[in-house]
Symmetry: D2
Subunit: 143 residues, 4 copies
């Protein structure tokens, strides 16, 4: 699986999210909670850009959950209504039962960094409630 | 079941919701989407005030869904961060397979009406995907 | 302004929204609150498709609020994670101080109608808190 | 201000949040984004339990923003619809221009830890866009 691990660690995805009016709060900027929606879009886009045989949206219907264990997010600059946020995503680290994604959110208009995220996720079999080995999960997902 | 229908139509519940900062938008007031959360709190509170043997939160775990078919909401006056919203709820109409709730949302500080809602809901058995008869559903729920 | 009114009433816009995982609830489908986000996307897209000199997102920074006064929404069929929702939008009625938008939300994969919405909106000058005449507002917005 | 710093660091607040149906996702549990709403409730409750002369909700109207700079959140155990979440909050560290809050979220029914959060916040004067000294901010807020 060394080839798979290398492939995963070298892969990078870029997607774009538009800030909605209801993402903002009374300070006129995006509420800190909503950046989690943006990098989650980055995660979905990353997974679907790997070239597997099915979309990541399908996994939940097959009884596999990709859960979040830990999030570390630094807010650099506030986004506003109408901004397009570019989400760059790659995997920083692959462990046995968890993996850490790196997401960089920047404003499309001027490249200003909006937020930087490290999110640790796991894959779980919902029938057995057991955590899956990460490389085995990807081997199935992509195979 | 005439007694049950009368009981349901005469019942009224009042609950209170606090406006969170992230309920507001860049106009400084609550985003129109979020009033749906407030009257949904009113619905849950109404159901649990009827004196049944289990909380309405339990139904989903037992395979019964209380879904929303139609919402008619009039926005009268905007709520702001820190406001307490009083939600008055009663059932306006009980049909065969659906029922219509009436919710009146007002600001606690001065009684100003914030929004008025009519929400039509149904009860569905998730195993058969069949709609339940409303009075039979309540008879089970309360019995 | 007859030409303007006719233009507005004949205009139609179609945009697309992807259902996010966090739009769903424990019933496995999109929570009824979140359809308001989808048709609000339709509204923004409609406004920006009219060919004005600035994006509708700009208005709030210029002290003009486009608020929602009334929403009537019928839920026809539940959307799920990963679905693409096509939002068709047009103006149904232009009043003096308000206008009513019609939105039809359908699932892209099979055209199934998901929800039908009538949303009445107004335009307000935030400096004076006065409602604007709708055709005058559009004349400025598009001019 | 040594007395103030000691007072702030020794203060602790406990508040309670009820999990709403729309906080859950299609996995049947609370979506990871929504825990940010719960600990934000803990922050508001902590601030208002300090015994100042005005509620923290008032600050935004006076041109002071309490922003979030960094969040570190570990998800320990998933919360479900109907759970009551107890949010314990204290200040872990007071810097010159920022302070770090510690929040522990647990399930009321059995005390199970749901999530642990460190959130770094700042106070900003919205007229000058300058960060305020934390102890000076609290001295004003409480004085």
């Amino acid at each position: 699986m060394l080839g798979l691990e290398t492939k995963l660690l070298e892969h990078q995805d870029i997607t774009k999210v538009k800030v909605r009016f209801n993402d903002t709060d009374a300070m006129g900027i995006v509420h800190f909670k909503n950046y989690m929606v943006y990098f989650d879009d980055g995660f979905v886009s990353f997974m679907n850009s790997l070239g597997g045989k099915k979309p990541v949206e399908q996994l939940i219907h097959e009884g596999i959950a990709l859960g979040v264990k830990h999030v570390d997010i630094t807010y650099e600059y506030p986004a506003s209504f109408g901004d397009y946020i570019v989400v760059l995503t790659n995997i920083e680290k692959i462990g046995n039962k968890s993996m850490t994604f790196y997401h960089e959110l920047s404003r499309e208009s001027d490249g200003k960094i909006v937020a930087v995220v490290k999110a640790t996720r796991f894959a779980m079999d919902l029938k057995t409630n057991k955590l899956l080995n990460i490389l085995e999960f990807f081997s199935d997902f992509l195979g």
